[in-house]
């Protein structure tokens, strides 16, 4: 016995609507993914910058008080750069002598991301004691 089927299939309009809906969904997800990727990469750079700053801060806290900075003149004491993942991170250390036995340490790290300048800064005090 031969059975006949109705093989009508999708119309072009149905296909077009389906593809449009799928395209909208994919586009939405793509946007979110791209934003997420940019955000994660930005945080990666921030982490690199922060570690670059923190490592110097730890070194300075272990340094003899008189060996830190130029007395009484608040200015950039030292500048250093390092390249990580093709990005250049520049670290500026500023020392301000607040009192005879108290100095302020500001460490700023600057880098460029998506064509824009970014920076992070950490600060602390160090005493002679």
């Amino acid at each position: 016995m031969r059975i006949r089927y109705r093989c009508k299939g999708f119309t072009y309009i149905e296909l077009a609507i389906a593809m449009a809906i799928i395209a909208l969904i994919v586009l939405g997800f793509t946007q979110v993914f791209l934003r997420s990727v940019v955000s994660v990469r930005g945080m990666k750079f921030q982490s690199i910058a922060y570690n670059f700053a923190a490592s110097r801060m730890e070194e300075l806290k272990m340094t003899l008080f008189d060996g830190i900075g130029n007395p009484w003149f608040p200015n950039i004491w030292e500048t250093q750069a390092q390249t990580v993942s093709g990005n250049v991170f520049t670290r500026n250390v500023t020392i301000s002598q607040l009192e005879a036995s108290l100095k302020r340490v500001d460490i700023e790290v600057i880098w460029t991301e998506e064509g824009q300048n970014r920076n992070i800064e950490i600060s602390s005090l160090v005493s002679r004691f």
Partner: protein, 380 residues
């Protein structure tokens, strides 16, 4: 028999199910990414707050060096980086142990996003310039005449004297302690030195007077232009007097803050008696004169450029008298308990000078933290 009609629409169901699963996975990944980002931001701010808090500990150590009575709380801003609030406590701690607690806040103490708290226990030992470890010390000569007696309070027999020049004892002058001089030591008549005599001893450095610090402390209470004559019983200080300070008659004056006098200080009690007490510092650019039947008990009396004269029957209790550029002259029958340090020191008549051995807490020039031992550091 296999009937294919039963499978109609299965593809749509499978496709929708797959799409749902993929959507859930995608949303989960997006949220995970956002969570990681938020976590990293918080972690970075938190680490910044830790450095801010650590800065607060350093701030407190510096303040304790200037004044061991410092307790805070102090809130201090480090620009855009953050603020810290630091306090110091000795409650429940052994002697000389200080507990420093510092809270670091980012970005501000008023509206913190992240806070870290650290606590440091330290043992601080205060140092004292060795010139104050004598009953009498001078950069130049020391001359003791008549029936002058030098001793110490507790224990007795440690009324040591030091001279950056020569020491001369005449008549019945007595030193119950050691005598040390860069130059010579001479005893004439019935004068006596009960302890060691150390001529040719190494010179000591006399500490400078931080006049700017005292002026700032005094000016915090205001400025009086012209001579200040004490009108009666009074609580005095902090006060900056651009002139002379005069106390005459039977008045009770209590120093309640640093008093800085640009001119001279004269305390005259004859024939009445004045009483001059307090726990603060009296400092004058010019001469300081105390005379009459009176008593004075001020921890630190400084004449920056002038002379100090003690006359009559005046009683001085627990005072360090410091005249690094002037002569200290003691005449008559003064009874002095404390320490006398001057460019030169001369005692005549029958004065009694008793060295106060324990000067703990005295705000002496050249003092500060000598040793610091970190006992423990922990984060709360």
């Amino acid at each position: 028999m296999f009937n294919i009609r039963d499978e109609r629409g299965v593809a749509l169901v499978l496709a929708l199910a797959l799409l749902a699963v993929l959507s859930i996975l995608a949303v989960a990944m997006v949220f995970l990414g956002r969570y990681e980002t938020t976590f990293l931001i918080k972690e970075r701010l938190s680490d910044s707050a830790l450095y801010i808090a650590d800065g607060g500990v350093e701030y407190a150590l510096n303040e304790l060096d200037k004044d061991s009575d410092y307790r805070g709380p102090t809130t201090y801003g480090l620009g855009n980086a953050g603020d810290f609030t630091v306090t110091v406590s000795t409650d429940g701690q052994p002697a000389d142990r200080y507990q420093i607690t510092s809270i670091g806040c980012v970005p501000t103490v008023a509206s913190p996003q992240e806070t870290r708290t650290v606590r440091l226990l330290v043992d601080l030992t205060e140092q004292m310039s060795p010139v104050f470890e004598h009953a009498i010390a001078s950069q130049g000569n020391i001359t003791l005449q008549g029936n002058a007696v030098v001793n110490s309070d507790n224990p007795q027999g440690e009324g040591d004297i030091y001279s950056g020049g020569n020491i001369l004892l005449q008549n019945n002058a007595t030193v119950n302690g050691d005598a040390s001089a860069v130059g010579t030591i001479t005893t004439q008549g019935s004068s006596t030195i009960t302890g060691e005599q150390n001529p040719g001893t190494p010179a000591l450095t006399f500490p400078e007077v931080d006049t700017a610090g005292y002026i700032t402390e005094a000016q915090a209470g205001g400025t009086h232009n012209g001579n200040f004559v004490v009108p009666g019983d009074i609580n005095l200080g902090p006060l900056f007097i651009d002139g002379n300070l005069v106390i005459q008659g039977n008045h009770q004056v209590t120093l309640t803050g640093t008093v800085y006098v640009t001119g001279s200080v004269t305390l005259q009690g004859t024939p009445e008696a004045f009483s001059f007490t307090g726990s603060e510092t009296l400092i004058a650019n010019g001469d300081v004169t105390m005379q009459g039947n009176a008593s004075a008990g001020i921890p630190l009396v400084i004449s920056v450029h002038g002379n100090v004269t003690l006359q009559g029957n005046i009683t001085v209790q627990g005072s360090v008298i410091y005249a690094p550029e002037g002569n200290v002259v003691i005449q008559g029958n003064p009874d002095v308990t404390g320490v006398i340090v001057g460019q030169t020191v001369t005692a005549q008549g029958s004065p009694t000078i008793t060295r106060q051995v324990d000067l703990t807490g005295y705000p002496l020039p050249g003092g500060g933290i000598s040793t610091i031992t970190h006992v423990s550091w922990r984060e709360l």
